[in-house]
Structure formats: structure tokens, C-alpha cells
């Protein structure tokens, strides 16, 4: 498929990523094994009556989507494609609680309506009157990736010139507790800045949302192109290696052309092997980890995607990324043309996303 260009983006994350043009934002960390987003002032994006009814996930996702469109001058894309692993967890939980509390009678439908996974898709379309192709992917660690692939297909087929795509996921304290019981998180509390130095199993929780306006038209300024994406379901080591080779071959680049590999290492000692494999396959590339900044969640690659586009656009690795976890192996003045994001979501859902500075 032809590459697509990123026209605008918007990211709400546990870091000060929203409306922050300066990449040297101060680093936020947590000692509680869970990251929550820094929420923006919603009043600029949502009317006050609606704000009160909306849960965090809805507000964050909707705001990032609307902001992304506004940054591009409010065009009308021909597709809205959104990924979410868990949808609006708060609403799902609240509806479960009220079913119990009120013994299945006299329930308020708002939480039920908001718990439907395509809620933000519908809200964005309604708010901006965008009559178009509109789909929600709900496949755990593939939700964001499959949204991107669909957007690329739509543009490649000529069915759309512009597509709004992105993803959202929220962590609630209750969902954190449930997943703690099921062994997803580390048993001991750690400093997120030390995440990858940990020698234990489990990871830390997080959340975030980011949206992108993708187009077949290259913008006149410095442009980042989404070149290729592959998703691997429960792959073997050979599958991972073969896919890496294939993505290089199909895009006519070599191992050495990958300037940065953005790795989804989660600090889970037992899940490090596939990342090691990628590190060894790309010894000349600058490895960077990111989950110590956003935590682990179904659509965490959206944060890596945002970071990567920022790095390519600014042609530098932000200072806050450089730490004992991310030591530079190349002089910081080297040009950055190509970034490969590799993520491994609990072995099941693995992905490779190739981003390039457009020529």
C-alpha cells in the first residue's frame, strides 16, 4: 500500500503531551504502578452539559479526536476509524454496579450507551457532522494497529483522501485491582523511572489516547509518513524475524536504515525475549523504550506512534526520553529518517509500525 501522511495529531497521555509544542516537557513518573493521564481543560472542546455526563475515557478520546481535526483546520475526513481495547471501562463498571445496587430495575441508560465501544466514533461523527465510513476496532493489542491498517486501505483504494484515526483506553482503579488479582501488574511497588531495570514479572498500568489525521496528500511542511504496519498473532521467534525482514524488503530499506527502534518493553522480566531478538537484529539502530512514560495498556502503541512522529518532525530525541533506560548510542545530531515501533502485548498481539520522514 502507498504510504499515508500525518497531517495533524493530538495526544493525551500521562505526560504533558497535549498542546505541548516543546518536546522538552518535564517527565512525570509514578510510584503507584499505575499512570493516569494529565487531563486537559475540556471546556474548550465539550459543552458543560455534556462534560458532566461523560466519563474520563469519553472526554479524553473525544477531545483528542476533535483537537486533531481542529489543528488541521477542521476538514471533513472520509473515514473515522478508532481502536480501543476496553472501551469506556468506567461506564461498563458503573452499569455493572448499578445492576447489582438497584437489582436490575430503574437503571439509567447513560452508562449503558456510553459503554458501547463505538461511542466515540458516533460522537465525533455527530459533533462534526461527518457522514462517512466509520468503524471501531476492539481487538486488545491490535486495536490501534488495525485502525491504522484500515485507514491506509481506505486511502490506498481511493475511497478516502483523508481519514481520522486513533485510539483510546482508560485505566480505572477498579480495573487496576481486577488485573492485579489476575497477575498483570508487578506485586511490588516500583518507581516508573526504573521500570525496565526491574528483575520481576508483571508491569505497570497506564492509559492514553491519541488521534491522527491521515492523508494521501503530502503536507508542505516537514511530513511524517506512515509507511507500513504488520500485526502478528501469537508469533514464533521465526515469525518475528521473518516479518522484520519482510517489512524491510517490501519498503526497500535495510537494517541499517532503521534509525530508531521504539520498543514496547514493559519491564516484565518474563516478556523480554522478543525485544532482545529485535534489539539483536537491529544492532545499528538506536533503541528507545517508552512504557515507563505511559504504562502498559491495550493501545499503548498510540503513545509510541505520537512520540515517533514528534521525534521525526523535530529531528531530535527529546531530552526527557534520555535516561539510564535510554542511553544514546549515536550522536544526538544524527539525522532521523526512519523509526520502527515494535510492541509485544502479552505475547498474543505483536506489531511493527514503520514511520518515515517523507522525502
Amino acid at each position: 500500500m502507498k504510504p499515508v501522511y500525518i497531517i495533524s495529531s493530538s495526544c493525551i497521555s500521562p505526560q504533558a503531551s497535549f498542546h505541548n509544542e516543546n518536546l522538552d516537557i518535564p517527565l512525570h513518573h509514578t510510584n503507584e504502578n499505575v499512570f493516569y493521564c494529565i487531563e486537559p481543560d475540556y471546556s474548550k472542546f465539550i459543552n458543560p452539559v455534556q462534560i458532566r455526563r461523560m466519563s474520563r475515557a469519553l472526554k479524553m478520546g473525544f477531545t483528542a479526536a476533535i483537537d486533531c481535526l481542529q489543528k488541521a483546520g477542521d476538514p471533513r475526513p472520509q473515514g473515522i476509524i478508532i481502536g480501543t481495547g476496553k472501551g469506556c471501562m468506567t461506564d461498563t463498571e458503573q452499569f455493572l454496579h448499578s445492576m447489582r445496587e438497584f437489582n436490575e430495575t430503574a437503571l439509567n441508560p447513560t452508562n449503558f450507551i456510553h459503554s458501547t465501544y463505538n461511542q466515540i466514533n458516533g460522537m465525533v461523527a455527530l459533533n462534526k457532522k461527518i457522514n462517512s465510513y466509520n468503524v471501531t476496532y476492539v481487538h486488545r493489542g491490535f486495536s490501534f494497529e488495525h485502525s491504522l491498517i484500515d485507514a491506509m486501505m481506505l486511502i490506498d483504494d481511493g475511497d478516502a483522501e483523508m481519514v481520522l484515526t486513533g485510539s483510546f483506553d482508560e485505566m480505572t482503579s477498579e480495573h487496576f485491582d481486577v488485573k492485579q488479582i489476575w497477575g498483570f501488574w508487578k506485586e511490588e511497588k516500583i518507581d516508573s523511572n526504573q521500570l525496565m531495570l526491574s528483575q520481576t514479572g508483571g508491569t505497570i498500568a497506564g492509559e492514553g489516547t491519541s488521534f491522527y489525521l491521515l492523508s494521501n496528500q503530502k503536507p508542505s511542511s516537514i511530513a511524517v509518513a506512515l509507511q507500513d504496519i504488520r500485526t502478528l498473532y501469537k508469533p514464533s521467534n521465526d515469525d518475528i524475524k521473518n516479518t522484520l525482514n519482510l517489512i524491510l524488503k517490501d519498503n526497500e530499506i535495510t537494517h541499517d536504515d532503521i534509525d530508531i527502534i521504539m520498543l514496547g518493553e514493559s519491564g516484565d522480566y518474563h516478556r523480554q525475549a522478543p525485544y532482545q531478538l529485535i534489539r539483536e537484529a537491529l544492532p545499528m539502530s538506536q533503541p528507545l523504550v517508552f512504557k515507563h512514560l505511559c504504562g502498559e495498556y491495550d493501545t499503548s502503541t498510540n503513545f509510541a506512534f505520537w512520540l515517533s512522529t514528534e521525534i521525526l518532525q523535530h529531528q531530535s530525541i527529546p531530552r526527557y526520553l534520555i535516561s539510564p533506560l535510554n542511553q544514546l548510542i549515536k550522536p544526538s545530531s544524527s539525522s532521523i529518517k526512519t523509526i520502527l515501533i515494535y510492541n509485544n502485548y502479552f505475547e498474543q498481539n505483536q506489531s511493527m509500525i514503520l514511520l518515515r520522514l517523507a522525502d
Binding site: 472501551g87 452499569f95 455493572l96 430495575t105 463505538n118 458516533g122 461523527a125 461527518i130 457522514n131
Partner: protein, 402 residues
């Protein structure tokens, strides 16, 4: 890929029965599958009719012949059992090197189990670790993919009541793009207290059997089920020695951006999506022989859909809803009704829209009132409309022998 897209396998499990034949028989006999609930525990069990599949979890596990049945939700089990039938018909061996992808759809995934043990997990009473992460939509897709060894593209769509129609569309597009060769497309949804209470809080469940397109309709009935279709190119189908059933001729997805849960009463979104599907299929409205309508029997849907049909079709084709047989199976509905639509072509038959008495004053439309066979059904349209304005329309066509 160039050329026609072919459906080579069908699988279905609804309150009408397990398998295409059982469902055909019920439709032919004009026998609905609605009843009070025997298996799902809810205070609403006797308050409304439901399209419940009369099988316990244990019986479904036995039918699926699972060696290790830990953590299989009812949603996963229904999906596996429906897809098994499609696999056999499409002659796909369980172990193979084909580039097969699964595009699954569900509205609440494993909620059917999650809602039973959720508070016990929070209180840490008992061990429910086998169900870890079944709260999402991907769990059932993973279970189904692993059962059949599907690896090449594994994904799940959730656009409420149009989910599996969108899954079928995506399957077609992935094949056309050459990303996969064979697409397993469909959806599965088990009845849950969550959705029953959700729709009840919206006050759109009928206490009686639903009456699609009737002036006095009073809401929908909920149901459960799963259905899958196997899509591939004509060439792939021929090379594998499978039998082509029908052609998947056209499709469209269109958001009408009108209201969070209600359709435009004028039917603008429904009109556009049907029109776009016809264009994609290079067909005229007069080519459509039967419309398997979304027809939920809610006040708003049937008004909107009727108005859209009135505007698009100068001469109204035979049409009707089959939700009066199965109940509204939400994310599975698009695939279940795709199977009924395909069977309509293969059997040359159209289905009776049950419980209809009085035409709606807006259109005066009378849906198909009897099961009718011996017809030459060339093209069938199947509609699915959803919360959030997510509309979808699919067109299946008889395979031309030229």
C-alpha cells in the same frame, strides 16, 4: 485480487437451532425461536420473550468437543460451533497453510460470564482466573482463532448492531488488498443481563413478540447467536475445490451522524448506505429481489428504514425482518441475516415477517407475510443499522454461470 468475491461456507447457531438446515426449517415453517429464559439468570427472565439457545454451558462445551474447556465463555462457544459448520462446508482443513484471517464481531464479548463473577473477583471470593480478560471483545476471537488455528489476520469489530456486517465488509477488503486469501467473517453474542438491562433502561424491549414494520410495533426482542461466512476469491475457491455458493457483490458503511442512539426518522443514513451498496455492486434498485431489513421493530428504526426504502425503491421489492424469529442478536445479527439472505438466493425463497397486522401510516408498506419458495432470487440486500449512526448494507448475488 481482481474478480469476484465468493461465499464458500456458512455456519449459524441461533434460537432457531444449530446449523443452516435447522434455521431454514424454522423459517420455512414460520416458527419463531422466542421464549422466556431458562438459562440466563435475571429478574427479567419471564418479563420478555428472548431468542435464547436452549443449551447449557456444559452442553455447548460437549458439542464443541473441547479437551480443555477452561475459560470458554458462551460467546466463544457459540462462535466456535457456528464456524465449525462453515469450515466443513467450505472444505477448509483444520490444519492448513492457507492465508486465513478472522474478522469477528461482538458487542459485549465475554460479559455473559464476567457479570456472573465480577463482584466475587472484586471481593476476592473464589478463583476466576480462567476468565481473566474475558471482559473484552478480543477474548472470544482469540479462542475461536486458536480453535481453528487462524493466524494471518486476527481482529474484532464492534459497532453495536452493525458489527458483523462491518466484519463481512472488512473481510472482503482484506482479500481485495491481498492481505489474506480467505476471510472468516461474522459475529457472536450471548445474551447477557448487561444488554438486557441496557435495552430495558432505554425502554425499547417489547413485552410481547416483536412486530417489525407494524404500525403498533412496540420495541425489539433480544436474542443470542453466532454466524460466520467464508469469503474468498473465485480463483481461490476453484483452486481449493470448494463450491461457490453466492457472490458477495456490494457493501457500504455510512455514518449518518444524526443522534447518539436514534436514527434519522427520514431515513437519510439508511437511504445513503443502501444506495452506496447498490453502486458498489453496479446494480439498480429494481435488481434487488428481497431485502432482509434491519427491522428491529423499534418505533424509530422501522420508520426510518421504511422511509429510506420508499425513497430508494420506485417499486418496493419483497422485504421483511427475521428478527421476529431469532430476536435481535446485536453484533451477530448482521452475519446471521447474511446467512438468511444467502439462503434466500440458494433456496429461491423469502421469509415471512411474523406478527404483522397493520401497515405503518407513514408508508403503508406491507412486508412479506408468508414463506414463499420457488422464486428466482438474484440479488438480496441485507441491512444493519446501529447506535452511533453506524449503518451498513450488504448485497449478495446469485452466481452467474456465464
Amino acid at each position: 485480487m481482481k474478480g469476484r468475491l465468493i461465499v464458500s461456507g456458512l455456519g449459524i447457531y441461533t434460537a432457531l437451532g444449530k446449523g443452516v438446515e435447522a434455521n431454514n426449517y424454522a423459517l420455512q415453517s414460520m416458527q419463531h425461536g422466542l421464549s422466556s429464559l431458562d438459562y440466563l439468570k435475571t429478574i427479567h427472565a419471564n418479563a420478555f420473550p428472548f431468542g435464547e439457545i436452549k443449551k447449557s454451558a456444559e452442553e455447548l462445551i460437549q458439542e464443541a468437543e473441547l479437551q480443555d474447556n477452561k475459560g470458554f465463555t458462551r460467546t466463544s462457544l457459540l462462535g466456535i460451533l457456528a464456524l465449525k459448520e462453515a469450515y466443513i462446508q467450505a472444505k477448509i482443513p483444520f490444519s492448513n497453510s492457507l492465508r486465513i484471517g478472522i474478522i469477528n464481531a461482538t458487542s459485549v464479548g465475554g460479559m455473559c460470564e464476567v457479570e456472573r463473577y465480577y463482584f466475587d473477583v472484586l471481593d476476592q471470593v473464589g478463583d476466576f482466573s480462567e476468565y481473566s480478560d474475558t471482559i473484552d471483545c478480543a477474548d472470544c476471537t482469540h479462542r475461536i482463532a486458536d480453535y481453528f488455528g487462524i493466524k494471518h489476520y486476527v481482529t474484532t469489530i464492534s459497532t453495536a448492531c452493525s458489527s458483523s456486517a462491518n466484519a463481512i465488509m472488512l473481510g472482503a477488503r482484506l482479500i481485495q488488498k491481498g492481505i489474506i486469501d480467505i476471510a472468516v467473517c461474522g459475529g457472536t453474542d450471548a445474551l447477557t443481563r448487561f444488554t438486557i438491562n441496557g435495552f430495558n433502561s432505554l425502554k425499547n424491549i417489547d413485552k410481547n413478540h416483536c412486530r417489525p414494520f407494524d404500525a403498533n410495533r412496540n420495541g425489539l426482542n433480544l436474542g443470542e447467536g453466532a454466524a460466520y461466512i467464508i469469503l474468498e476469491s473465485e480463483q481461490s475457491c476453484r483452486e481449493r475445490g470448494a463450491s461457490p455458493l453466492v457472490e458477495f457483490a456490494g457493501f457500504s458503511n455510512f455514518n449518518e451522524a444524526f443522534h447518539p442512539t436514534a436514527p434519522n426518522p427520514e431515513g437519510e443514513g439508511a437511504y445513503q448506505v443502501m444506495k452506496l451498496a447498490l453502486e458498489k455492486a453496479h446494480l439498480n434498485p429494481s435488481d434487488i429481489d428481497y431485502i432482509n431489513a434491519h427491522g428491529t421493530a423499534t418505533l424509530t428504526n422501522d420508520e426510518s428504514e421504511s422511509n429510506a426504502m420508499k425513497r430508494l425503491f420506485p417499486v418496493l421489492p419483497k422485504f421483511g425482518s427475521t428478527k421476529c424469529y431469532t430476536g435481535h442478536t446485536l453484533a451477530a445479527a448482521g452475519a446471521i441475516e447474511a446467512v438468511f439472505s444467502i439462503q434466500s438466493i440458494l433456496k429461491g425463497a423469502v421469509y415471512a415477517n411474523l406478527n404483522f397486522e397493520t401497515p405503518m401510516p407513514e408508508t403503508g408498506f406491507i412486508p412479506q407475510l408468508n414463506y414463499e419458495s420457488g422464486l428466482d432470487i438474484q440479488h438480496v440486500m441485507s441491512n444493519s443499522f446501529a447506535f452511533g449512526g453506524n449503518n451498513a448494507s450488504l448485497i449478495f448475488s446469485k452466481i452467474k454461470t456465464s
